[in-house]
């Protein structure tokens, strides 16, 4: 890239600096290692557009070529993601979080803050909303975007009061017969002394048990990290969908590597062994649907990602709509009941999860 263009790209207050360039720079700053070629080509395209529009020099031909190249390398890179690449995608700093989906999918969101026991937990959000006019309850883990918000949201690790708030909202949804939607995005439940003191285990366990008995349609969507107990604490639902580049795991790969090999640096290997991708979750029957992400991942196109998540929610809710409260409890029971894989000695057949 010519030096003049680099200057143009990096200039903060340049009159020509368009929204698009700001966005491209943001992508470049947060690009994962394997995303860097994509970010570079995007930056080149943006600068050529700038020249065309700003200086009036026609570079449309080059732009067209670069756009083809961009599509090609993006497809190439994203068709070969390793499990570890997916872990990084799931944790991507630009990935849409729960409140982004709330903003893009629902209307009239009214956030509700308390658990009636201890206090508010900013790592778990929830409230009433409408989905194309239908009244629904929404809950979800919430991560922070910058350093300050990340600390405020405790990196998306909810405490007992967060799980109790979630249960309170779930039971309120049941009282008023509204569907419940849960957005799952947590590295793990909070593991501090205070969480232990207030019963983090009990709060997660109780949610699984009491979510099981809800006589309303329930659905969860794993949008980023489906971190162990912290995830299942709001995901014992009739339907579970998962975004393509999300993960669902019993343990973070770093922790697994530390325990198995006493070496957190072998996390990529552990990620592979843990089979934590959406593809595996679908094969094991753990999720009912994998929602395909726009090319390059959810963070490259919030609107399109939200549109697909919304379509998935509407499809599942319409399928569940005809069921009675008792049928919803029964089918949820059967859904979780069959998970696992084992065999019975003396019999040839293997009981496979998901039937």
């Amino acid at each position: 890239m010519p030096e003049a263009l680099m200057k143009l790209l990096d200039a903060k207050d340049h009159p020509l600096l368009s929204v698009e360039i700001g966005e491209v720079n943001r992508m470049r700053r947060h690009a994962l290692d394997f995303e860097k070629p994509i970010a570079e080509v995007e930056a080149n395209i943006a600068s050529l557009k700038q020249i065309t529009e700003g200086i009036g020099e026609d570079r449309t031909e080059e732009i067209r070529e670069l756009e083809l190249l961009l599509e090609h390398i993006t497809r190439e890179i994203f068709s070969n993601l390793s499990a570890w690449d997916k872990v990084q995608m799931a944790r991507h700093e630009l990935r849409p979080y729960t409140m982004d989906y709330v903003r893009l999918i629902f209307d009239d969101f009214v956030e509700i803050h308390e658990d009636r026991h201890f206090g508010d937990d900013p790592a778990m959000v929830g409230g009433m909303a409408t989905l194309d006019g239908e009244r629904v309850m929404v809950i979800g883990h919430q991560k922070g975007r910058d350093a300050k918000e990340r600390a405020y949201r405790n990196f998306g690790s909810a405490k007992p009061e967060g799980y109790r708030k979630a249960l309170r909202l779930a039971q309120m949804a049941e009282k008023f017969r509204r569907p419940l939607l849960c957005f799952v995005d947590t590295p793990a439940a909070d593991c501090t002394v205070e969480a232990e003191e207030r019963g983090i285990s009990e709060s997660i366990a109780r949610n699984m048990r009491d979510f099981a008995l809800l006589k309303i349609p329930t659905m969860s969507i794993v949008i980023g990290e489906g971190g162990s107990g912290g995830a299942v604490g709001i995901a014992t639902t009739n339907r579970v969908a998962m975004l393509e580049h999300s993960i669902y795991s019993i343990i973070p790969p770093e922790g697994c590597a530390a325990i198995l090999w006493r070496d957190p640096d072998r996390a990529p290997e552990a990620a592979e062994a843990l089979k934590l991708t959406a593809e595996h979750a679908l094969r094991f029957g753990v999720v009912d649907e994998v929602i395909e992400e726009p090319m390059g991942g959810a963070h490259r196109n919030y609107d399109e990602t939200a549109r697909r998540v919304k379509a998935s929610i509407q499809r599942h809710l319409s399928e569940l709509k005809g069921l009675s409260g008792g049928d919803l409890v029964q089918s949820r029971y059967e859904r979780f009941r069959r998970l696992g894989e084992w065999y019975e000695e003396g019999r040839a057949s293997i009981a496979v999860a998901g039937g």
Partner: protein, 275 residues
């Protein structure tokens, strides 16, 4: 030089070594094996509750000859193809004579028939995999069918088993939905927490009892020390008895810490009251 070398920090196996005498794992005083056995493996000097195997626990709690095992033919299938998992399972099968980390069945405690499930720490640290989840779930389902009370005894170091990944994780909601149905029918579930009860097991069925009992001194908690050290979560005020049965009772998470010698009588009283 002692076996294992001067600098060996090897702790004895949870099983006390064979012979006439052994050393208490906590106070390290010499105890006659016969005295220890008579005392339900509780150290007569320091009251340390040594870990029991699933079958020792069954023998201690149920009426002689009343226990019949269920689902002994279930076997782990290594669904993830996890490195060295089949070998580790086989090793523990040889070592313990168990087929997996949980034993389930029906037995009598006093006058009450009780559906039971117990994890055994000696087998893969009692971790919950698909077989453990399936055995416990079936035990709860039989209790639902026959309207029986359930007693689950936990003793697992690592919670849900890493080696079956997401499928182990799913045993948490699976056992919980089964207990939800049992709960919804107004049936009694007693959870007995023994050393150690951690992570995915503590955060699922072990925390769902109508009544939660625990043995004195048992380690009980959500996050194991290795993980929380990594997360530096314990910097600051960590109580001296952190993540013990007594700590959990103090914080209202355990209903009652019951010495081993009183367990059977306590269970009988609770079963009588609720029957």
């Amino acid at each position: 030089m002692p076996p294992g070398g001067w600098f060996s920090r090897h702790k004895p196996e949870s099983d006390l070594p064979e012979g006439l005498w052994s050393k208490c794992e906590r106070c390290e005083r010499i105890v006659f094996v016969r005295d220890l056995e008579r005392n339900l493996k509780v150290c007569p000097h320091c009251d340390y509750h040594h870990r029991l195997t699933a079958w020792e626990r069954i023998e201690m709690l149920t009426e002689p000859g009343s226990f019949s095992e269920w689902d002994a033919d279930l076997r782990s299938s290594d669904p993830l193809g996890f490195p060295e998992y089949p070998e580790k399972l086989e090793k523990d099968r040889q070592k313990t004579g168990l087929t997996d980390a949980a034993v389930s069945g029906c037995g009598s405690i006093g006058a009450h028939r009780v559906s039971m499930g117990l994890t055994d720490f000696r087998f893969r640290a009692g971790a919950m995999n698909s077989v453990v989840g399936e055995r416990l779930t079936r035990a709860v389902e039989r209790a639902v069918d026959e309207r029986l009370p359930v007693l689950l005894v936990s003793g697992t170091g690592g919670g849900a088993s890493m080696y079956e990944g997401i499928l182990s994780l799913m045993q948490m909601p699976k056992t919980s939905v089964a207990l939800a149905r049992h709960h919804d029918l107004g049936l009694l579930f007693i959870s007995l927490l023994t050393d150690p009860t951690m992570a995915g097991v503590y955060a699922s069925w072990a925390s769902l009892g109508d009544l939660t009992l625990a043995e004195p001194g048992a380690t009980i908690g959500f996050t194991g020390s290795r993980v929380s050290k990594q997360a530096q979560a314990h910097v600051g005020r960590r109580p001296a008895n952190y993540q013990t049965a007594e700590f959990q009772q103090d914080r209202g998470m355990v209903d009652r810490v019951v010495p081993r010698k009183d367990l059977k009588a306590t269970l009988e009283k609770l079963l009588d009251w609720t029957a």
